[in-house]
Every structure is written in C-alpha cells, then in structure tokens.
Subunit: 342 residues, 2 copies
DNA sequence: CTGAAAGCGCTTACAG
DNA sequence: CTGAAAGCGCTTACAG
C-alpha cells in the first residue's frame, strides 16, 4: 500500500500480489476465479501474498473486463411504494440483502416513484449496471417489468404476476390456500356472517385471497353476499375506511377476514371505536403475520407469509437466472397463527 | 447496438458516439464531464449522437479510470439492527435513496450483523468500492466508524456520536431541546409526577433526552426521583417492560415521557392493560412522530424528528465531504405534535 | 477547442 | 500449469 497525494491509501493491485508471490498476474487472476489450472505451490504463494498485501479485488476493473457487474438491484416501483410503510417490506429487504451478502453481491436499492424515475432506472439497469433485478411491484403488467424482460435482464418478482403472459420469475405465498385456511378457522370458531376486506384486486394476491374466501363460503354452504366484500388498499387507513363501510352495509357481521395485517389494524381500531368487541362481537383475521400483528390488543390472528423464505428464494432464483437458468415461479405455503383476535 | 451471441444487447460505447458525431472519443468524454472545452458545434453533434445511439456511460469503465465509484453505502451496524423494525428507518432509508438518486448516485445497502460482516464490509468499503458511507449506528465509539474514518472514507452518521473525539460528520435532532419541550408540555397539562423511559444511555440521543427531562424537572422545581426513570431499548417490548417496572416502583405517576414512539406503544399498551386510562390517569408523550404514533388509540402526542430533513442533510454533507469539505455536525430542530395521549 | 495516446486493474484466450 | 498480451470503456494530461 502506497499513499497517494490526497492522503487516501492506494489499495494493492493484482500486480502487487503477483510480484509478492513471484508469479504472473494471470496466475493470480486464475486463483481468484476458482483456482483452476493453478499448481499447489503457486496457490500457496498467492494465498500468502494476498494476506500479506491485504489485496481486495477491484470490482470495477473486473466488471469492465467480464461484462458482469456482480451486483443486483432491489427495485420498488410506484404502485407499491406504500409497501415502504409496511413492516413486511423491511423483512423482505433485509432478507434479500443478507442472502446476497453471502454471495458477496451488493444490493442497490432503487425507488421508482415517478415516470421519470422509471425511465432513468430502466436505462440504468438495461445499461448493464446490474446483473439482475429483484422486483417489488404489485402492478399488474408493470411496464418496468416488461421492459426489463424484453431487454433480457434477469428478473424475479415478489408476488405472482396477474395476467397470463408472465415471462418472468416470481416467488409468492400460497394466497388462495392461505385465505381458505383462515376462513375455515373463522367458521370453526362458530362465525357465519363473515366479511372480507380484500387487497387491491388489480394487484398480485388480491384476487387469489378473495377467491380463497369465496371457496370456503361455498364449501360451507354460506351465501355470497356482495355487501360483505370491500376492497382495500393494504394501508391502515384503508382498513379503517373498509370497516366503516362494512359496519354500515352489513352491521350484523360476526367476523372479518382482512387481506393484510396493516389493514386489519385499521379494521380492529374502527370496530372498537364503534363499540364492538374483538373478537367477542366480531372476530378479525389478518394476513402476513407482520410485526404489526402483535402491536395491538387483541393480538392478531393471522396467516403467516414466509417472508424469510421468500427473500431467500428470490435471491436463489435470481442468481440461477443470471447463471443462465430459465425463469420459473415458486409458491410457498402460509401458516395459520392463532392469537387473540379470532 | 449490436447483439452478442447470448442474446443480450451490447450497449453502445463512447466510441460509437464519437464515430456517429464525427469527433474523437476525448471530445465526447469532455462533453460528458461538464462540457468544458467543447465547441458549440461539437456539443450539438455529440448530443444528437448520444440520443441516436442511446448511449449510457459505462460506470465501471469510468470508475476504473477516475478512481471514484460514484456510489455510496448505507450502512447499518449491529447494535442498531433493531432499528430495522422501526418505521423511522424506512423514512430515513427512503429519503437517502431519493436524495442520492437526484445526483444519480446509487445506494448500496449494507447490514453488519456479525463481527464477520463488519470485517467483510469494512474491507469492501475501504477498498474503494464506494465513495462514502451513510452510517446508522447508535453504538458509542463504533469500531466500524473509527476504522472507516482512519482509512479516510467520507462518513456521515445519523445521530450525534457520544464521546468527545468524534472526527466524523453527523446529523442529529435537537434531542435535549425536544425532550425539554415535551416535558414542559406535560407540566402545562397539569402533570407533576412525570416518569421517563429513556433510550439506551450508551447510544446517541439517550443521554440528551434524559438531560432534557431533568432540565425541566429542575426548572419546574419538581423533585428528581430515581424511581421515575427507567432505561429502555427503543423496542416496543422494551416499552412494555419499562411500564411494568414503573407501575410497580412508582404507581402514583401521572405522566410518562417515552424516548421513542415504538416504546411508547408498549407503554400505552401495558398501562391500559393495568387498568389505567391514557391520558386521563396517565399522560404519555413519545418521541419521533413515526408512523407508529397514529397507529394506536389514543393517538400519540410526540416530538417530531425531521427525518426527511435529516436524510437530505446526510446526503448533502456526505457529497460535500467526498468533494473535499471537512466534517461537521448538524443539529435539526424537533417539533411538538399534540394528539390525544398527552 | 481538439485529437492521439497512455493508463486505470482486471480477465481470458492463446501459446507454450 | 503458466506467462505475455490484448482488450474491456472510460478519463485526462499532453501537444497542438
């Protein structure tokens, strides 16, 4: 390490290591890239030299040479920006960061709020600055996803894309099965007049959870009353609005299945303010098992989404795709977590 | 754009632009880097050529050449990992990402959970992979911060470092002033037996908020009863524990100032479960004005931390430092937000 | 104001 | 198994 005029140390290069080890730079590079065609003696010498010099590869140089960037983007597109206020987001972002770190791959966080952002980021990504994209976007037919795919960028989305022609990979929870299980649980608790607050129906998860709810009503021989279903927006305030509407158009409900914990918080709050007791008067079941679930009284009974596994799978699939594998979809099971609200 | 064997498009290079514009690559580069010493004619030709070719600079090549990476790290170190579950974290992370995006600088998210992580990331950073670091670490004398600084890496921390010898920049809220204002508010509401749940006292903000509380007790001629002060950990469950202890060692309190909203949620919950009404029996004041503040009933009266400004300042200061400016500290004012809990 | 050329630190056929 | 050398796409003194 020499010191440059500005006081910052100049890191050792592959050249320093080669000199130290008494081999050529090519040999050092080969050692760095898997160690094929490197003799034991050379390997030892290089290992020692690396330790001695404190050498760390210059990724810019490597990237320039290989054409790979060895980094990936975590992209949040506009319609899902509110997800940022959702505790699930943290779990997902954190999981992805950690799993990537194990492969020594940095994560670039990208937020596409405006159309301008979208254009800028699409350009950035398609210019080869990242090897692939972890996409959080609930928008059906997100233009970004389409553009990225058509540019050949490896991509894994969180949530099952709506529409048929999804040409990209995704990882999702078993939304329909999970919804079924929750509604069955509500019925097992003796509830018969079960309402539902759905997520946006044009976003992944939305229609499937609603379908699961309907499946079980039919299965149990319960009537399908349109007054029982209200569309929400995955926000707490949306839950409050939904509960108010439900209370006015179907005041006799004895349970509500809410498609997200955050909305469920709003629902419980509004219900309690209106004088209803949860779960005695009205049972409430959520979806997610986010940190929010245990933040209220009564603690929320909910369907656990395996966000830890979801992030692990997203990373695994993205790396596989970067390595040349074809896109695929993965569905992970949810799990009923019974607490106090239902 | 030509198409390579693997089907991915090969992006145009500066060479393509130069050919298209009928100038040398040097001229294109000069145009790209500020446009100095470029004639109007050349400028126009280059602009047209860039548009026509869809050219985007290859940052790896640029970085290799300049020695700058044009990216920064957002680093969360171990003691503060729990911050990840704090809604404030999102606001901060998001703000930093957005402000950096305006300068076209990507943010690399880094989590240092273990000692291994710390070593790996320190190496990564000091090897010139990023130009600077936005640090979220509440640990006094964080070894990472010290190492980074001694390696000459530009660094801006969130929160005022404890200890005297802080050689790095920071942005913090006016913790002591804010605490004072909240306690004065409690007193103005007629409260006299005011308890406090502090943050960790070995972390930024902790001691200052406690000091502010004490300032006002003295100022109001109120006694300093050790039974009134309990140390928390910035988590919701920590708030619950603290409230339980308070209730047993000082059952006659009529107000609690809690050093964070998340802890305040736990405090309110425990208070209510014990049969106390908030704010009638016991008023509760929080700190942060995070999303959590309005998630409970009664809505939390709290001190607003200007996280939007904090992130803006952090980015501004980091870029200034990268450009050669000396480190500095910035303190931003807080603001009382009166809701229902006090 | 502009071009030719060196150099940034790697990887990777190519010859041996 | 190994070395010499070309090449990745930029920037930046240097000459003009």
């Amino acid at each position: 390490m020499t010191t440059s005029p500005n006081g910052r140390r100049k890191p050792p290069t592959i050249h320093d290591v080669a000199r130290e080890a008494g081999v050529s730079r090519g040999t050092v590079s080969r050692f760095l890239n898997g160690g094929h065609y490197v003799s034991p003696a050379a390997r030892t010498a290089v290992e020692t030299a690396i330790r001695k010099t404190g050498y760390v590869v210059n990724r810019h140089a490597r990237s320039l040479s290989t054409g790979r960037s060895d980094s990936v983007a975590f992209l949040l597109t506009e319609p899902q920006e509110k997800f940022f206020e959702d505790p699930n987001f943290n779990v997902l972002l954190r999981g992805c960061t950690e799993h990537l770190a194990r492969h020594d791959i940095p994560l670039l966080l990208m937020l596409a709020s405006s159309k301008d952002d979208r254009r800028r980021l699409t350009r950035y990504i398609t210019s080869g600055h990242v090897d692939g994209v972890l996409l959080v976007s609930n928008h059906s037919g997100d233009p970004v996803a389409a553009e990225l795919r058509s540019a050949g960028i490896p991509l894994v989305a969180c949530g099952k894309p709506l529409g048929t022609a999804s040409t990209y990979s995704y990882v999702a929870a078993a939304d329909r099965d999970g919804a079924q299980e929750m509604v069955r649980h509500l019925i097992a608790r003796g509830r018969r007049r079960i309402a539902m607050v759905t997520g946006p129906l044009d976003a992944p998860g939305g229609p499937d959870r609603l379908a699961g709810y309907r499946d079980v009503l039919t299965e149990a021989g319960l009537p399908h009353d349109p007054a029982l279903v209200v569309e929400g927006d995955y926000r707490r305030t949306g839950g409050e609005d939904a509960a108010r509407r439900l209370l006015s158009q179907a005041p006799d409900i004895d349970a509500v299945f809410v498609a997200s914990d955050l909305m469920a918080l709003g629902v419980v709050n509004t219900l309690q303010k209106s004088g209803r007791s949860v779960p005695d008067d009205i049972a409430v079941g959520g979806f997610d098992d986010s940190a929010a679930a245990t933040s209220i009284t009564p603690a929320l009974t909910t369907m656990r989404q395996p966000y830890d596994r979801i992030s692990a799978e997203m990373v695994r699939m993205l790396l596989a795709q970067i390595a040349g594998e074809d896109p695929a979809g993965v569905i992970l099971p949810t799990e009923l977590v019974v607490r106090e609200s239902a």
